[in-house]
């Protein structure tokens, strides 16, 4: 609460400071475009944020989970180093977040979620987060939101070689090579990545004996390798691209502290091969876009003690096409079709399962002068030839003050999500009679950005939302000692999100400050025949979350300090048990040395600098203080 009050005071003080400044000085538009965290008017009436490019570069050898957890209000549920990590948007479950690669859904069709700890950060050129109804502009099913990871061409003539090698605590060795070669109308980008770690970190064990003692994590080894190739071809009015992405991750799965693993231990293999071809053509006021993607995903889980050899293989073919037109200066029309065909072969299904989900989305946006705009979107899902009730989204954005980039936004959406194939066909327990989940989301937000003075820019936003999810699918134990899903709950999540970004920039000094706060209230409003827990917060949804970072760059030296506060998380539905709140601090420092066409970047990263003993999931310890030392060599020709 203390943090919330101070945070609101800070945001208010920024606005006030800006007003004083505007009286004294004329605000001039800065020539330099700073890639901030807020895309503001580009998102119309919806909330859409990005991750600062400096954040991506400092996490080059990390993964998407680290980027999201340290720089956004999205909560990451992680089983620790090397373990799976899933997202929780605004109190929703992991299955309500979609992970998209250049706009194409890459969630597992079986699980309906993605393990974002397996996405190498160095493979990403941009990360954009679509909150609530904003996700419908990309695809259906993101009841919480969509994280879109993007790879983009850099239309520069010449070549670029980048070799990044790192070594750190817990026998962590990692590296990445990037090669870019291109001319004005052709670009080739090749990336290769490896990562291995023992993850045998020391932690305070408070549950295995009556007296706490220092223990060492075991069976948490991870070995990962990945390869990505991108080719871009630019015509007079078109861009054609082709991408492939192969990745293999073998890891042992450490057990809960309360589970004493006897004999051989659990392990998992995640392997995928993804391809994507995209053609984009712009002619006059029309923009055509077509893409075809094919993904092959393998997920094998082994538990020798329980004699489980779970082998699962899915193939996904996604065709997507759309047209965007601006018939008048004030009207924008957009229509696109997305067709996703899934084929899954699993030892956990009785036979091969096929599913085809088509989505047709049409939207119109109209500007009313310079001060307002409105948008309406209709989305129709066809699930295996069955028409679902159409979804919709609508919003209004208002620019209340002339010459100021202040925006007031309202939107309301209905969004649907079809059950996952595991929900339908898992043997035992799958329920083929499940209904689709759907949500009603309302959102009000205030965004602003500008200059307090010439070297100091700011942007900020405050969002209030309410999300009501109907027919929530939940797995629960059934009569026959196995779990089964059913549409048993209605869940309401509501809350507040606030963000503040400031950049102070001179020729030799750059200071970037960013902070996000999320207040999340999430509870069940109906649960089968026995629902009477309406006043209880959903498990593993922190009510308070705050991330703050300051990044300073002076000449060739740079440093970052990132603080993440995660509030109390309840671990039982009646809220009788919980995990303490925790504050983690990370520090990054480095220097860039340039010599002609060669440059070096020497970097030291210290995570959890104060060695806080904490857990994100109960009885799964997280690492204490850890180091990663890396050297990056760049050659530009």
């Amino acid at each position: 609460m203390r943090a919330l009050v101070l945070y609101i005071v800070l945001i208010t003080s920024v606005a006030t400071y800006g007003q004083i400044s505007s009286i004294k000085d004329t605000i001039r538009i800065n020539e330099v475009v700073v890639k901030g965290s807020l895309l503001s008017s580009a998102s119309g009436a919806f909330k859409l944020t990005g991750v600062d490019s400096s954040v991506l570069s400092e996490c080059n050898l990390g993964n998407l989970s680290e980027i999201i957890s340290y720089n956004t209000p999205v909560f990451i549920k992680s089983y620790g180093s090397g373990g799976t990590a899933t997202t929780s948007f605004r109190g929703t479950g992991a299955g309500h977040t979609q992970l998209a690669w250049n706009g194409i859904n890459i969630n597992s069709p079986m699980l309906g979620q993605a393990d974002i700890s397996l996405i190498p950060a160095g493979f990403l050129d941009d990360v954009r987060i679509y909150y609530g109804g904003a996700s419908m502009s990309l695809n259906c099913g993101g009841l919480g939101g969509i994280i879109n990871i993007e790879t983009k061409p850099d239309w520069k003539k010449g070549s670029n070689l980048s070799v990044d090698l790192g070594a750190g605590s817990f026998d962590r060795y990692t590296g990445m090579i990037k090669v870019r070669e291109g001319v004005n109308n052709f670009q080739s980008v090749t990336k290769a990545y490896f990562h291995s770690a023992e993850n045998d970190f020391r932690f305070l064990n408070t549950v295995s004996n009556n007296d706490p003692f220092y223990d060492r994590r075991s069976n948490a080894q991870v070995n990962q390798m990945a390869f990505q190739q991108e080719i871009y071809l630019r015509g007079a009015k078109s861009v054609t691209s082709a991408r492939i992405w192969y990745q293999s991750s073998k890891r042992n799965l450490p057990a809960s502290l309360l589970v004493q693993q006897a004999g051989e231990t659990e392990s998992q293999l995640d392997e995928f091969f993804r391809t994507m071809i995209n053609y984009n053509r712009y002619k006059g006021n029309k923009d055509y876009d077509i893409s075809v993607s094919w993904f092959s995903d393998r997920l094998d889980y082994f538990n020798p003690v329980a004699s489980i050899d779970s082998r699962n293989h899915s193939n996904t073919l996604i065709a997507r096409g759309g047209i965007e037109a601006i018939p008048g200066r004030k009207t924008q029309l957009k229509i696109f079709l997305n067709n996703e065909l899934n084929s899954v072969k699993s030892v956990n299904y009785s036979n091969l399962k096929l599913r085809n989900v088509s989505t047709i989305t049409a939207s119109v946006r109209r500007a009313f002068g310079d001060k307002a705009g409105a948008m309406v979107m209709i989305q129709q899902i066809i699930n295996n030839r069955h028409l679902l009730i159409p979804d919709f989204s609508s919003g209004i954005d208002i620019r209340p003050v002339n010459d100021r980039e202040y925006y007031l936004k309202f939107n309301f959406s209905r969004n649907s999500k079809v059950p996952t194939l595991n929900d339908l066909y898992w043997n035992p327990g799958g329920n083929p009679d499940l209904k689709n989940e759907h949500s009603y989301t309302g959102e009000v937000s205030w965004e602003m950005k500008g200059n307090i003075s010439i070297p100091l820019e700011y942007s900020g936003e405050l969002t209030l939302y309410s999300n009501n999810i109907r027919d929530l699918i939940q797995w629960s134990p059934s009569q026959f000692s196995y779990w089964s899903p059913s549409n048993i709950s209605n869940v309401k999540t509501s809350g507040l999100e606030a963000g503040l970004n400031m950049t102070f920039k001179t020729n030799i000094l750059t200071i970037k400050f960013n902070s996000q706060y999320a207040l999340t209230d999430a509870h069940i409003i109906k649960s089968g025949d026995t629902g009477y827990l309406s006043d209880k917060q959903l498990v593993y949804v922190p009510q308070n979350q705050l991330n703050t970072g300051i990044r300073v760059s002076y000449k060739n030296i740079y440093s970052s300090w990132i603080t993440c506060f995660t509030g109390r998380r309840f671990i039982t539905v009646d809220n009788s048990q919980y995990l303490h709140s925790c504050t983690l601090n990370n520090f990054i420092t480095g220097t860039r040395i340039k010599s002609g066409k060669n440059s070096f970047d020497i970097n030291l990263k210290i995570d959890n600098i104060f060695g806080v003993n904490y857990q994100t999931i109960a009885y799964h310890p997280m690492p204490g203080r850890s180091f990663l030392f890396s050297v990056t060599y760049n050659l530009i020709r």
């Binding site: 589970v259 003690v305 400031m502 000094l509 400050f513 671990i571 303490h580 709140s581 857990q615």
Partner: protein, 350 residues
């Protein structure tokens, strides 16, 4: 420069205000006092699989109250993941914690931890053979573990090559049911710890009782696919022949938790409702003793001295469940809020 300090002020303010106490482990709210010295019933709350929220409750006959989180309150650490069964031997109690692969040895009157026996593969139930020896069944290993109760350590294994679940002692023979994907009752000589015979019953024998005529009653819960019959089978423990086989009319549910009264002439089981049957009956009862009435009956126990019937209501397997206490005629005595998925009972007679 003023702006520079302004940014620094913002940063430091937020970094400072976000400081909070950092403790790692989960916190379990409970302020109850312990009343363990009298007679009562231990209740093993299984908790959710892999969530580590299993716990121990104690129903005191003296106060007619249920006390939760007994193990945690005494030992300041959680009991483990899916506590499944418990026995008392002398002044010691043995709590089998299934997914933690361990047995907690505690003082029966204080629940103070005395020792933790680890290294077990998915242990399920524990059977007291004598004051020196106990058997522990296993869901996955195919072996029954032998415990030395003098040293509280594993002294050996009996390879039955099958999953093991319920166990029952009669004289020098132990009867062990092969529940998961099994259909046998293994018979073991407790002096030699060797398998001496086996009897094929119905699919997935889940629980067993011995009646006053020395017949072994076995409740077979069928299978989740609904392919096999659910059966109640009586075995002659002298000839090992099946004396009676009663087949349930429906495969929609999975009968469980077979119990017997203190005189050994009436058996009870859960099949959505609570059912009672005289051992001389030639057919299954058609009228339940205690209807479910919206409750989700999970496990049952019958006090071997007082005869009262204890039943757990798991509610939705997620929120805290209830322990219901009934008289022999099925009338409710009281109901108490336990913890998540209250399961097996262990009766403490002194």
């Amino acid at each position: 420069m003023k702006q520079f300090f302004f940014i620094l002020f913002c940063s430091v303010s937020i970094l400072v205000c976000s400081c909070a106490k950092n403790d790692s482990g989960p916190v379990i709210n409970d302020t109850t006092r312990l009343y363990l010295n009298g007679k009562g019933v231990f209740v093993l709350n299984e908790g959710n699989f892999s969530a580590g929220n299993g716990s121990l409750s104690f129903y005191s006959y003296d106060s007619s109250k249920l006390y939760n989180n007994v193990f945690y309150n005494v030992n300041s650490r959680p009991l483990g993941d899916v506590p499944n069964s418990m026995i008392i031997s002398g002044n010691r109690a043995y709590i089998v914690v299934n997914n933690s692969g361990k047995i907690e040895v505690v003082d029966k009157n204080t629940i103070c931890s005395l020792k933790t026996i680890s290294g077990l593969v998915s242990p399920r139930n524990i059977l007291l053979i004598n004051t020196d020896k106990a058997y522990v069944s296993s869901l996955y290993s195919g072996k029954v573990t032998i415990l030395n109760l003098q040293t509280d350590s594993i002294s050996g294994y009996i390879d039955i090559r099958r999953s093991s679940e319920a166990m029952l002692l009669k004289g020098e023979k132990a009867y062990i049911s092969c529940w998961s994907s099994g259909k046998e009752i293994m018979i073991i000589n407790t002096k030699t710890d060797k398998v001496i015979d086996s009897v094929e019953v119905g699919n997935e024998p889940e629980s067993m009782v011995l009646d006053k005529t020395n017949r072994l009653w076995v409740l077979c819960s069928g299978d989740y696919m609904g392919q096999f019959d659910r059966e109640l089978v009586a075995i002659n423990t002298t000839t090992y022949e099946i004396d009676k086989r009663l087949v349930f009319s429906s495969k929609n549910y999975s009968p469980s938790s077979l119990q017997i009264n203190k005189t050994g002439d009436t058996i009870y089981y859960i099949d959505r409702d609570i059912w009672r049957m005289d051992i001389s009956s030639s057919s299954l009862p058609v009228q339940s003793l205690i209807p479910a009435s919206g409750r989700l009956y999970y496990k049952m126990g019958v006090d071997p001295v007082r005869g009262e019937i204890f039943v757990t209501n798991a509610v939705d397997y997620q929120q805290r469940g209830y322990v219901l206490r009934f008289m022999v005629n099925g009338s409710l005595i009281d109901s108490s809020r336990a913890d998540i998925i209250p399961g097996s009972f262990c009766f403490k007679q002194n």
